[in-house]
Subunit: 191 residues, 3 copies
């Protein structure tokens, strides 16, 4: 039987998250938590059922949550939500698209989501609360620290260390064995 | 039983189209329509059986056609062919590689082909007569209008509007929520 | 029953090679051949069992070998190893990740490895001792000559000729129908 899960955040990234969770077919989406004024609206057929103030009350019924707020430049909202959800007692499961490939020699932590067609290779490790977005590539031995967003089609080559809170933008490339920290522009090459 | 289909155009793109149709395994390729002087030649084992002048005659026997002419810079030939084929009464089926992923929350229209390893995410829509080429990524909520070519490994991020007739070249990137119109250079980043 | 295979080279690229061979599930990895001082060390659980001087002796027991040394800028070690291994009489099987797609209309030669999520399209041909790395795309009718490394997420468009010994770096793009020779920088576009 599928476990229930709440989605926290009802914007654009939430749609991609829904698609991954539907394809993974492990969780039953109960609804979305968003701003008070959005209650009653729908995202891909799922209702906004509550706002952030209701998270404690909701936890009496539901134990799993996924942060479906995106991270472009700032991850402040995601980091704050993680703290709040953990404090209440929510479980933030690791979500992996069945269309992604994660090596059995890689390790990933709670609250992280691996989107469609992403690839995490042998010896890599990914911390908490990360987005490994559609078609992103994390090569062998790379380390992605907590709260990072490796954006769509981005390429992190072998042995790279991506420091916590980094936004590694779409289709950017990190050459092997370097340290990346903070902000990487779309399409750029980091040496 | 598989339906019959004609391929219109016998160049390089045609080979990729053949590979997709063979893998999809829904259509039986009858042959290729190309220039008169190429009749009798073969592309990956399929014969050039007729030229454009024969399209009306061929339609008496065959109802499905796919435009297998490429689109680099100009899509004039593809647009003209679409008009001609529709006028005669051909059906231009939507072709999707089984190696691509198209979200059930995305919509696509006739005459469009989604090549191997392309990904079209939730909430996206793609118009008529488009090529979504190998490894291209169309993210959530993006709109690709008619007659576009989203080329190999190109990345259209969330909420982008790609206006009709656009050539979005190989490995280019469009940042989220922008409008793209006309011509995008290979490997470039559009903001 | 699975055949035995030796891995020649125990660095970072070796981990990706192990992941591919494990997923392919055709070969039983006997161990790794590396520098004398590394004998006894382990890579993803596989032991370094010998050094280059032992290759002749090992061949009495094992006939298959894969070169698991990487190729960044220089392929001198890989080329020298190929010569040495062939002289002794080793078979260097073509290795293809089950997560890659190789068109049945493409041809590949011995000693080449196609990593996870790579795509080799119809009419393409790849020579000996090449690395077609994770997420690389080789489009229709392209020719990759011997001893090349098409690196992670690199895009070789239709009808390109990549001359032997080329290092085509990560996420670079070659426009269609050109000749590429020698060294291509990460993220660059070759016209």
């Amino acid at each position: 039987m599928k476990e229930n899960i709440l989605l926290i955040g009802g914007g654009g990234h939430c749609k991609s998250v829904i698609d991954v969770i539907e394809q993974e077919n492990k969780y039953n989406i109960i609804g979305i938590v968003d701003k008070k004024e959005n209650i009653g609206q729908k995202v891909l057929g799922y209702k906004v059922i509550a706002c952030d103030d209701d998270l404690e009350e909701l936890h009496k019924k539901y134990k799993n949550a996924v942060i479906s707020v995106g991270h472009i430049r700032s991850n402040a909202v995601r980091v704050e939500l993680l703290k709040q959800l953990k404090k209440i007692g929510y479980i933030l499961p690791l979500i992996i698209s069945p269309l992604a490939y994660v090596s059995k020699h890689a390790t990933l932590q709670e609250g992280t989501i691996v989107m469609h067609n992403a690839l995490i290779n042998a010896g890599a490790s990914v911390g908490k609360n990360c987005i490994i977005n559609s078609k992103a590539l994390i090569e062998h031995d790379s380390i992605i620290e907590d709260n990072c967003h490796i954006s769509t089609a981005a390429v992190v080559n072998g042995g790279v260390l991506v420091k916590k809170d980094t936004f590694f933008a779409s289709n950017a490339t990190a050459k092997e064995s370097i340290i990346v920290d903070g902000f990487v522009k779309a399409g750029s090459v980091v040496k």
